[in-house]
C-alpha cells in the first residue's frame, strides 16, 4: 500500500526514468527508462521499498505527537517489565496502619484504603494490561486479516454469510459481548485475550475486506489466475502485502481500544483479579471513597489508563497519517 501512495510532492513530472553512469550504452535503441533509484546523486526520485520505509521512519521521527506517544508508551513498557524492581513499596502488601494517606514526600501518590502505596500499584499495574492488550490485538488482527481476505477474495455467499455474522455480533457493544463471554467461561488472562481478540477480529475483517475488494479488481490478480495460482497463494502472497498498510493502522488503533476495554472489564470485576495491581480494578475498589475526599486513589490509576490510551492513539494517528499521504 505504501508504495503506490508514495508520491513526490512534485506535481508535474512523474518519475519516468533517469540516466546514470552505469546505465546501458547511450545508444541502446530499446532501453527505455531506467529506475530512478539507481540514479543516486543525480537527485532522482527514489521509490525503493527500503527508501520509502526509511522516509516514513524519518517522518515519524519528526512528528511531535508520535514522539510524545512513543515516550509515554516506552515509559509504561519499562514499568511493566522492571516495575517490581524500582517501585518504592511493595504494591500488594501495604501497611494497614498507613491507609488513605494523602500524597506526600514519602508516598507521592498517597496510599489506598488498605495502606498500599498508590504509586507502586500504578507502576506495577501496567504489567497485565500491557501483556493482554497487545496479544489480544495481535490475535484479532491475525484472525481478522484472514477472515477479511477470504471474504473479500471469494465474495458472494461467503462474504454475505460472514458479513451478517459480523453485523450480528457488532450490534452489541464490545464490552457487553466480552462481559457475556467472561461470565460464561470465567475470568482469566486467556479468556480476556480470546474474547477481545474475537471481537476485534470481526472489526478488522471489515476493514481488510474493503481493501481486498479494491485489490481484487486489479490485473495482477487476473494474471495470477491465468497461471493457475491457488486461492491461498493469491490471498496471502499476492494480495496481503498490498493491504498491509490498512492492517498496520488498524492494529495500532485497535490496541488503544483494547487497553480501554480491558480496563473497563477490570473495573467491572471481570478482568484481572485482585490482589494483582491493576488500574481498572483499583479504580473500582477506590471510587466509592471519592466522596470521602480520597481522590488520589482513583485519579492516579485513571490518569495511567488515559496516558496509555492517549500514547497508543498518538502513535496510531501518526502512523496512519504517514502511510496515507
Amino acid at each position: 500500500m505504501a508504495d503506490d501512495q508514495h508520491r513526490e510532492s512534485v506535481a508535474a513530472p512523474p518519475a519516468t526514468g533517469a540516466p546514470d553512469g552505469h546505465g546501458p550504452a547511450p545508444h541502446d535503441p530499446l532501453a527505455v527508462g531506467l529506475p530512478p533509484a539507481t540514479a543516486g546523486a543525480s537527485g532522482a526520485v527514489d521509490v525503493s521499498a527500503r527508501r520509502i520505509r526509511r522516509d516514513h521512519f524519518r517522518q515519524l521521527m519528526h512528528s511531535k505527537p508520535f514522539l510524545v506517544g512513543a515516550v509515554l508508551l516506552l515509559w509504561w513498557i519499562v514499568c511493566a517489565i522492571f516495575g517490581k524492581a524500582f517501585s518504592p513499596y511493595n504494591p500488594v502488601n501495604g501497611s494497614l496502619l498507613q491507609f488513605n494517606l494523602a500524597p506526600s514526600g514519602s508516598h507521592w501518590f498517597g496510599t489506598d484504603s488498605l495502606g498500599r502505596d498508590v504509586l507502586s500499584r500504578v507502576i506495577v499495574g501496567s504489567r497485565d494490561i500491557l501483556i493482554i492488550a497487545p496479544l489480544a490485538t495481535l490475535l484479532g488482527t491475525a484472525v481478522g486479516t484472514a477472515v477479511g481476505l477470504v471474504q473479500g477474495y471469494f465474495g458472494g455467499l461467503v462474504d454475505n454469510v460472514v458479513g451478517r455474522i459480523v453485523d450480528a455480533v457488532l450490534a452489541l457493544p464490545v464490552v457487553i459481548v466480552a462481559f457475556l463471554f467472561v461470565v460464561a467461561v470465567g475470568p482469566s488472562t486467556l479468556t480476556l485475550i480470546l474474547v477481545i481478540g474475537f471481537v476485534f477480529a470481526l472489526l478488522i475483517a471489515r476493514t481488510v475486506r474493503t481493501a481486498v475488494l479494491q485489490e481484487r479488481e486489479l490485473d495482477y490478480i487476473a494474471a495470477a489466475r491465468l497461471r493457475n495460482e491457488s486461492g491461498a497463494h493469491i490471498m496471502f502472497v499476492e494480495i496481503l502485502p498490498n493491504v498491509s498498510g490498512p492492517i498496520l493502522v488498524e492494529f495500532t488503533v485497535r490496541l488503544g481500544y483494547a487497553i480501554f476495554a480491558i480496563a473497563t472489564l477490570s473495573f467491572l470485576g471481570f478482568g484481572i483479579q485482585p490482589p494483582t495491581p491493576d488500574w481498572g480494578a483499583d479504580i473500582a475498589s477506590s471510587y466509592q471513597y471519592l466522596a470521602a475526599g480520597y481522590w488520589w486513589e482513583t485519579l492516579f490509576p485513571a490518569l495511567a489508563i488515559a496516558s496509555l490510551v492517549v500514547a497508543v492513539n498518538l502513535i496510531a494517528d501518526s502512523i496512519e497519517s504517514v502511510l496515507i499521504q
Binding site: 540516466p19 529506475p35 489466475r225 497461471r227 493457475n228
Partner: protein
C-alpha cells in the same frame, strides 16, 4: 544558460499585440528542501488570435508551464526566474484580487479529464451559470447565458444537459460543457491541456472540430498542450517542442513538423507510425536512453545523452535558441545536421510471414457475452467469429464500449462467455474459465494488460514476478529457471540489475517490458495484447512495438492486438477486425481495411484520426454518440450514426450479416462494396 541571444520570435512579431509573453522562465519545485528545476529558460509568445501548441513527452514540463501561466503552480512550485506577462500584466506583480480577475476574465483553462473538472454533486446548469455570475450578471441573466453558451459548443439540447449531473453525460459532452465554461468569460487566452486525450478518436475529432470553429468565432488566443503531434499539427499555427523542461524547438507548426531542426523533434517524429510504415518495412525509430531525472541539470545540452549527433561541445556548452529560419529557433549546436540524425534501429528487417494456410491456432465461433445489469441484459459481444493463424497479428479496433476488452478477457478465460460460444486452441475446445483449463492451455495463451501499474504486483520484485510465471507455467525450478529468467530478461532488453527492483522503481516502458517478459515465460502460442502501449509515450511505444514484432518473429507467437490507435494497429497487424457494439463490422487484411472499400464505420474511424501527413481525409462526422449496448438499435446497429445509411430503410429494419465481399474481406453492411468504393472515391 543563454543570455547572448534574445528570446525567440522577437522582432517583427513584437509589434503585434501579444497576449502571453513568457521570457526566460524557470519553474522549480521544492522537494525535500531542495529546488528542482522543472522548466528551464523557456521563452515564447502567443499573439492575438494565435494558436500555439506545446508538445513533448510526459514529464517535459508542458503542464507546469500552463500552470505557471495561470499562476496555479502547487504550493511547492514557483517561477524562480524570468517573467510571464499576460495582456501586458506581469503575473508576478498581481495581488490576489487582480489574480482572481485574471483567471475569471483573461485566462481560462480546460483540463484533460472533463469529469474531474466539474463538481459531481451539482447540476451542470448551476456550474455553467456560475461563470457568468462571477462576471457580474444576475442569476436570471446568468442562466440564460448558460444556455446560450452550451448552444455555442453545439450541444443540441442544452436544456437537458443543464438539468443533468455530470455523471449522466458522456465524456465528449462533458468536455463541451467545460469548453463552454472556459469560453463563457470570453477570455483572451484559452489554455487546453490535453483536452482530447481521454476521449475516443471519433469524439476527439468532434471536439477538435469544435475548437477550430470556436476559434474563428471568439478570436481567442490558444495554448494547446498535447503529447499527440498530429493533433498539434492540425490545431496550431505555431508549435513549441519541449524536452526535459526546455523549449528545444519553436516555430510555425507545419515547418517544424516537415523540416525539424532539433534531433529530439526528428527522433520524436520517427517514433510515430505513419502511412506506409509497417513492422518490417520502414520501421519505427526509437530515441535511445532516458529522460533526465526531474531537477537534474546537465552541463550542456539536455538532449546530448540521447543524441547520436552529440559531441564534446554538446556535453559542455548549453545551446542557445539558434534562429533557424523566420520565426524559428532550435536549441541545437548542429541544427543544420539534425535532419540527418542517424537511426537508432535498422529501417527494414525480415520478418517471417504468418502461416495462414495451416489450421488456425485460435478459432472463435459464435462467441457471445451478455452481462446482466440490474436485471437488464446487456450484450457486450454478439456472435463473434474470428480465426488467428500461427505467427500473425490480428488487430482489434473500435471505440471504447465496443467490446474489445471483453473479447480479450473471454479469450483468456477471465470472463466466461455465454453458453453456445465455441473457443478452440489448436483445435481443442477451451473451457470457459481459466481455472478449468489445463496447464498446457493456460501457458499457451497469455495476456499483456493495458496498465502495467495494475498488472504487476507492486509488492513483488521483477525477479519474483517473472520467476513465478516460469515456475507455474513452464514448470521450471532451480538453475534451469534461473537460466530461463536471464534469457527472457535479455530478450525483452532489460538488464539483470532490474531484477531486484519493484515495479514502482521502473519507468512505464520498463514496467511494460516486465509484463511482456511474464507473458512470454511459458512460451505461449497466443498472446493477447490489450492496448499495451496506450499508457506510454510515443518514443517508448515505438520501442515496445518493435520489441513485440521481434519477439513474434523469434518465438512464432500469434498476437491478438487490441488498440484504439489505428496507426499502431496498421503498423503491427496483418489482419484487422473492427468491432462496434460487440459485433465484428469488418474483418480483413490490414491492407484491405486501410485501402477500402471500407465499412462506413471503419471509414469514419479512419477519417477521425488526425494525421501528420498533410492531406487529411474528408472528415466524416458521426452524428450522436455510441448507443447504449443495453438497447442496441434495430437493424444494423450502426444505422443511428451511419452517414451512408440507405434511404430504402433496410438499415433500420434488418441487421446485415457479416458477409465476404471480396476474398478475405468480410463486412457487415447492406451497401454493396462496389457502391462503397464509388462513395468513398477509391480508385480501382
Amino acid at each position: 544558460m543563454s543570455t547572448d541571444i534574445s528570446s525567440p520570435g522577437t522582432g517583427d512579431r513584437l509589434s503585434e499585440a501579444v497576449v502571453m509573453d513568457a521570457a526566460h522562465v524557470d519553474v522549480s519545485y521544492t522537494v525535500r528542501g531542495t529546488d528542482r528545476l522543472a522548466v528551464r529558460d523557456v521563452s515564447f509568445q502567443i499573439g492575438q488570435h494565435e494558436s500555439f501548441g506545446l508538445v513533448g513527452e510526459s514529464g517535459c514540463g508542458k503542464t507546469t508551464m500552463a500552470l505557471a501561466i495561470t499562476r496555479y503552480l502547487p504550493r511547492n512550485g514557483k517561477v524562480s526566474s524570468g517573467s510571464i506577462t499576460v495582456n501586458g500584466q506581469d503575473l508576478a506583480s498581481l495581488n490576489s484580487g487582480a489574480l482572481r480577475s485574471l483567471r475569471a476574465r483573461t485566462v481560462s483553462m480546460v483540463y484533460q479529464e472533463p469529469g474531474r473538472a466539474l463538481n459531481p454533486s451539482i447540476r451542470v446548469g448551476r456550474q455553467v451559470a456560475e461563470v457568468f455570475e462571477v462576471a457580474g450578471l444576475s442569476k436570471a441573466d446568468a442562466a440564460g447565458r448558460a444556455e446560450e453558451a452550451l448552444r455555442k459548443v453545439q450541444i443540441s439540447d442544452p436544456g437537458r444537459v443543464l438539468r443533468s449531473y455530470p455523471h449522466q453525460l458522456s465524456g465528449g459532452m462533458l468536455q463541451r460543457v467545460v469548453i463552454a465554461m472556459a469560453l463563457g468569460a470570453e477570455p483572451n487566452l484559452l489554455i487546453l491541456d490535453e483536452p482530447t486525450t481521454a476521449l475516443d478518436a471519433t469524439v476527439e475529432a468532434e471536439i477538435l472540430e469544435l475548437i477550430s470553429s470556436l476559434r474563428e468565432e471568439f478570436h481567442t488566443a490558444i495554448l494547446f498542450i498535447s503529447h499527440n503531434l498530429a493533433v498539434i499539427a492540425k490545431m496550431c499555427e505555431r508549435v513549441g517542442v519541449m524536452y526535459a523542461g526546455e523549449l528545444v524547438e519553436e516555430g510555425p507548426a507545419h515547418e517544424v513538423f516537415e523540416q525539424p531542426q532539433h534531433p529530439y523533434t526528428v527522433g520524436l517524429l520517427r517514433c510515430i507510425p505513419r502511412r506506409g510504415q509497417r513492422k518490417d518495412h520502414g520501421r519505427l525509430d526509437t530515441i535511445p536512453g532516458f529522460l533526465p531525472a526531474p531537477g537534474e541539470v546537465p552541463a550542456g545540452c539536455v538532449f546530448a545523452k540521447r543524441c547520436a549527433l552529440a559531441d564534446e561541445r554538446c556535453t559542455t556548452e548549453s545551446p542557445p535558441p539558434y534562429p533557424v529560419g523566420e520565426d524559428r529557433t532550435a536549441r541545437c549546436h548542429y541544427h543544420e545536421r539534425a535532419p540527418l540524425l542517424p537511426r537508432a534501429t535498422p529501417e527494414d528487417v525480415r520478418l517471417p510471414a504468418p502461416d495462414s494456410d495451416a489450421a488456425p491456432v485460435i478459432s472463435l465461433r459464435g462467441v457471445a457475452k451478455t452481462y446482466t445489469v440490474h436485471h437488464d441484459k446487456v450484450p457486450a459481444l454478439v456472435d463473434v467469429d474470428l480465426d488467428l493463424y500461427l505467427g500473425e497479428t490480428l488487430g482489434l479496433v473500435g471505440e471504447s464500449g465496443s467490446g474489445k476488452t471483453t473479447l480479450a478477457r473471454v479469450l483468456v478465460g477471465l470472463t466466461p462467455p455465454d453458453t453456445g460460444s465455441s473457443l478452440e486452441l489448436d483445435g481443442r475446445a477451451l473451457a470457459p474459465l481459466a481455472t478449468k483449463r489445463s496447464r498446457e492451455q493456460l501457458k499457451g495463451m497469455q495476456i499483456i494488460f493495458q496498465n502495467p501499474d495494475s498488472a504487476l504486483n507492486r509488492r513483488h520484485s521483477v525477479r519474483h514476478i517473472i520467476d513465478r510465471s516460469l515456475t507455474k507455467l513452464a514448470g521450471l525450478t532451480g538453475a534451469e529457471r534461473e537460466q530461463s529468467l536471464q534469457e527472457i530478461v535479455r530478450s525483452v532488453r532489460m538488464e539483470p540489475r532490474h531484477l531486484g527492483l519493484r515495479p514502482a522503481q521502473l519507468s512505464g516502458g520498463l514496467k511494460q517490458r516486465v509484463a511482456i517478459a511474464r507473458a512470454f515465460a511459458g512460451n505461449p502460442r497466443v498472446l493477447v495484447c490489450d492496448e499495451p502501449t496506450s499508457a506510454l509515450d510515443v518514443s517508448v511505444q515505438a520501442a515496445i512495438l518493435n520489441l513485440l514484432a521481434d519477439l513474434q518473429a523469434k518465438e512464432r507467437v500469434t498476437y491478438l492486438f487490441i488498440s484504439h490507435d489505428l496507426g499502431v494497429v496498421r503498423y503491427l497487424a496483418d489482419r484487422i477486425a473492427v468491432l462496434y457494439l460487440g459485433r465484428v463490422m469488418e474483418y480483413a487484411s490490414a491492407e484491405a481495411v486501410f485501402t477500402g472499400p471500407h465499412h462506413p464505420y471503419t471509414e469514419a474511424l479512419l477519417s477521425a484520426v488526425p494525421s501528420l501527413d498533410g492531406a487529411q481525409r474528408e472528415r466524416i462526422i458521426l452524428s450522436g454518440e455510441i448507443p447504449s449496448p443495453a438497447q442496441p438499435p434495430s437493424g444494423c446497429v450502426f444505422h443511428t450514426r451511419c452517414p451512408r445509411r440507405l434511404s430504402s430503410g433496410i438499415c433500420e429494419t434488418t441487421e446485415p450479416p457479416l458477409a465476404e465481399v471480396e476474398p478475405g474481406h468480410s463486412m457487415r453492411c447492406h451497401i454493396p462494396p462496389s457502391e462503397l468504393r464509388a462513395l468513398q472515391q477509391i480508385g480501382n
